[in-house]
Symmetry: D3
Subunit: 290 residues, 6 copies
């Protein structure tokens, strides 16, 4: 059994999460889990079962790369689900035991759907990365809004991948949002992954940007270099070599702490720590918006 | 100047339409046009100009393969527009002179967006064909609904392309909706194109299906053979050889008439005539739903 | 209904044949047919039904590009059949009404299987063109032998496609055997197709070679130029443009006549005539074996 | 000098084998070798030389991924050999010093040819995996039979790769037989490799199935998960990263022992041990035939 | 025998030229020819033979798409020749009977090499279109200079293909220079081809630009639309459908005449006429430099 | 900050060099550096700035894989630079502080440009490897000459990659020159890289050849096996796994020493040592010219 890119949130006195788990058939499912300290986890042996799973929104077959966020009374889970091709699936729970499936947010083909942690101007907001039905050698980050978590519209382009003219080679192939955006003084801190293609495959690194608080399709700052790139053996080697893939973050603004959960080489789950203010300052001081 | 796949509707005492026009740069724009008899057309020399064209929904650059439909008081135009990749753009007009741009219905990458001519259960419905950012060697027909023509959700798969197991080779590569669906006794008559790939390129043919009146994501009948396939010289040869691409239809139920406008070889505009009842009967009598 | 690349033989006082027929679903089936003069044909409306069609050798789904040959008491039919991918299927008949299916001759992926009209040294011989499961941008002609028309072995390479160093651009992409080889004074006259890839697709032309009578994997003569290439409108335009595809031949050595049946643009069936001795002489006088 | 995927059998008081050896030019040849304990090997410095190597069956150029099996009086070697493209080559020996080349079993393009260790119903049987002439992004396992080890026929599909609908992602890209099948109580134990494509390359894992004793094209059990997948550094990293490739097995039914020889990352040779009854039981208890 | 894209110049009282001729093997060679009126041509039955053809500059294998220009005392021929891949070959003649081969101008991979008709600032100038070794789905026009017609340097980019942002879809895939540039009042009139890729292949059209007289890497005017695009049956259909490929031009400034020789569908040779002043004025009045 | 494939030369009492440096944006620039012992380096924090950088020869954007050579009074630097695609850029310096940009040597698309350390017959000579604008799955080594380091001509093919018929699989995909050729008794020692494609990516190894002293397009000896191939963890794993890429060499003929600088996995810089005479002797004794 392997546990890969995963999503965690504070819950009760400890933490809860939704995990991409692959048993021996390598078919990815979502499993819930609990932890007291955010590092030592008890993963449910059975996959999440959804209520309200009409066949029209897909057989609920594969499910990977989840994100979790609390908005008002619900914990919402988004993930890359199967709907005659990958798209962004959505469910919600109050207790991480009963999950209610909502409609898929978009048509295929889409990945890396990430909700904002509160409504903005009364609307829900979601980042996503439309692309194709394969291993996606291209892709930019868009944002969409919804009055009801069902119907999505007013799609806006947030950020393009970097081209030669920008010098941003570490993110020249595709980009995708990672953890739930964090509200900071300057707006929304969006941690994301950027990808470069080499002659022997992709290299996934981590970067960050700050989006406007009220019009989050506007990028105020965007880091001009990767902030974490495969270097340790467990990041460089594995079933998908050279991958650092951030997908969740815990932060404590008062304590100025930031813990970023990321998958490494599609084989290990890792946590990277930072001081939140230094992290934000780095993005602002090394910014290159394009 | 070339005029290609085009969309026409009854208007006043005659007809109006929106046309894909390519001047010498081959860059496609939409132009309005008028006709007394539906065959002889006056095309506006200047492209349609949209009010309410915010930059966030794309520079309005290319625009092709329009469809037009009257819903309540407005004529809605959908087309394949540029939004950092092709997607379904939407506008509305009352007089074919002033067009108001609405938000793009979907994220990229999408083509062949076709609205239904009335609300169903209070909701607008649109067919579309999500695919990739190239010449799309795959694609199925989906349906989405919206309460406000802005936010779209409850996405459902309507029809897949035919695979080997179905014997439907004429539509084995991709399919896409054509004219505005026509309400007939059995439900919605949806005329569409199906594509086969040969070793020397694609062949586009015309087929049809009947969708459930109230739950239009359900296919009641689907023709088990093409109803029109490239045969005449102007269908077999041209800038995109071997293309029959239906994109509009005029019908008169009382008179039992059906006129299907289709593009031929991306070079000519053609009209095919049928008796509406015979056309529907053919679909029902030669049906193969999968 | 379309009738494409087809195979004919003398039968009784006239001719019989097996035809690739595609109804409106464009799914190819085999149909039998009869003719008094070899030009005017009565095609059976129903596809050939095979006895002895065990599921293990494929559901008998698609079937195209047949060849027919009489060996001893039986008429054998070979065609490109579906066996989890294309391969060479085999059947036999005595009356073109009852067809007995034999085992597929080869594993996938193979096309253009052509039997010799008699045993050589007690063995059956078959030409074929192994390649891949798509539109086959490469392929050479091989020969295999069998003691029982079931088990095949002693595979030999007969002819490669032409490379730059040969100057044979008309056959530089792939080659495949056409009609049943004709026994002539010098050996076996093998008419075949050669293909060049242009920047707008493949061009299929006709050539010929003479193989050794007793060791037919040896090429004695091979024409250094195409003998027929798309030129007439019905050869240049059609659903698969620029195709001349020979698949059967009638000959009368005494009368020195040769009639070559070929498909044109995968849309028309054509016949080309020649004097047999002149045809052979042309191959010998313009030979380039490589 | 590198020694890669290799094939071993009991021989005399110890073991003999045929090995894929690549010298500094990385061109693969077969070398014989001897061992007393099956772990410490003396490899012949010169490649195997074949008697009866007619030019028609290929110049005997490259040769890799051999398998060895004793049938009646002979040790038969099959490997992926060059015949104007890869196919299954065959030779036999009695002493691992003199090898007699037989005809290639199949036309190109084929890999992973694996003989059964005895005749079944009087016929020899061979598994193989037809595919294309490149790095083969697809492929299923077939079986063929022969009365004489020369002519092969009655081809049957044994197992397909796993699709989305099966959940078998670890084997969704291609599969290929590994060691010589082992006769167990339930039939034939076939160990094989399954491959998944990730966005950074293929991952090769090991699985197993049990085929019917008398009709070995029937799959009775097929494991629903990989039984070994790259995990150790020498499996994850190397010239072909993330490869576990089983190609031989020694078993002792009485002692209930099973030793599986596998190549790791195309760089190391490894052995994995199991209790034979537990191994079989695992396959039966975790079976998913499709 | 086919005669395709060809190059003609005034010579003596009439005209001479170099022609791409393909005999039945479809292998392209250069043949000389003469004409009194520029329309009725006598083509030499044998290919051009070059003196000074050292093996190091290629075996002189294939040769296609020639251009001819008179500079001072010599007629120079450039063409796409084989040098372990396509590049620009060069030869010169004084009488179209004896041709002296010079060194290839560039390394592979290059096509459409076009010389200027006089030195500029003492240097020879050549346009070319570097790309890859296949059917070149991309390519821009560069210019290089040489003091001696042997060593080339000071490479400059002249014009890029049109991107979405330019609206120039007719030339969005690749561009390549055509006839020898014509010195006009504003500078150098460069007629070129532009290509758009459709879902059924490329469409080649004709455009033109005016380059600076002294610094010809500067584009002063560039037509914002195609000036000729496949429309006639012999342009739309043929072995390479939808091709208009200009490769030579005769002009008479005093008489204000311009005759453009172009290949159609790689099957026919055509001539288009214009008034030179109107042609230039059209380029200037419809210019879009990017 | 990463320092990759780099070029070093003796300078003053120690060594100087030009390095490919990538900061956090992974965009490659050239930086100068100094060292006393050739192993411990001080790298300039700022990229090299060029005088005489006209916009026509490219914005000087990316720059990687440099080589450095002293010819007469100047140190010349060549690298893979951006000129609307990769090509060979050239600069010169006397002190590694002020660099004067010269014209690009060739049109795109080219990589691995390596100058000879002295004129031969009065001409400068440069090796290069023309290919395409992507990750170059093919490529051979050419040589060109120049009277002035600006205009290049008399292009000759030096060495092709190895094909199946040569048995040279380690160099079957592409080859490219590495360090500056070293003049030895037999001619020019050229160290180069050869590449094999596996089903999980490329493997780059090191080989060598000896070119004729006066006609360096003639290969006298060429090693028939790789001399260094990825084996150590830092060669096998990294951002571009399995890469050994030689790009500079220091030699001392009197002391019989050779130090080869090579990049490993595009992540580390390494040095390999040899006795020069043994190195040369190995090439001569294991030679296979093709």
């Amino acid at each position: 059994m392997g546990i890969y890119n995963s999503a965690v949130v504070p819950y009760g006195d400890g933490f809860a999460g939704v995990f991409r788990v692959e048993l021996g058939n390598r078919f990815p499912h979502l499993h819930a889990g609990w932890s007291e300290d955010g590092l030592d986890w008890q993963i449910e042996p059975q996959p999440v079962v959804f209520t309200n799973q009409p066949p029209e929104i897909g057989p609920g077959d594969y499910a990977y790369d989840p994100r979790v966020v609390k908005i008002e009374d619900w914990y919402y889970v988004t993930w890359c689900g199967g709907f005659n091709g990958p798209t962004i699936s959505v469910a919600r729970t109050k207790n991480f035991r009963e999950f209610e499936r909502l409609d898929n947010a978009f048509l295929p083909f889409n990945r890396n759907g990430v909700l904002f942690p509160r409504r903005i101007g009364g609307m829900y907001y979601m980042l996503s990365r439309p692309s194709d039905n394969g291993h996606t050698p291209f892709g930019d980050i868009y944002i969409s809004q919804s009055p009801d978590m069902i119907h999505w519209g007013r799609h806006r382009l947030v950020m393009r991948k970097g081209g030669d003219e920008t010098g941003q080679w570490w993110q020249r192939t595709k980009i995708g949002a990672g953890p739930i955006p964090i509200e900071v003084e300057d707006g929304w801190l969006m941690i994301y992954h950027g990808v470069i293609d080499t002659c022997n495959g992709f290299v996934y690194s981590m970067g960050a940007a700050i989006l406007d608080r009220d019009e989050p399709w506007r990028t105020l700052y965007r880091v001009n270099q990767h902030m974490l790139t495969p270097d340790m053996p467990y990041e460089v080697s594995g079933h998908v070599p050279n991958v650092v893939f951030p997908c969740a973050a815990l932060h404590d603004t008062a304590a100025n702490r930031l813990a970023i959960y990321y998958g490494a080489a599609d084989t290990s789950c890792c946590v990277a720590y930072a001081h939140l203010d230094e992290f934000v300052e780095f993005v602002k001081s090394n910014s290159c918006v394009f």
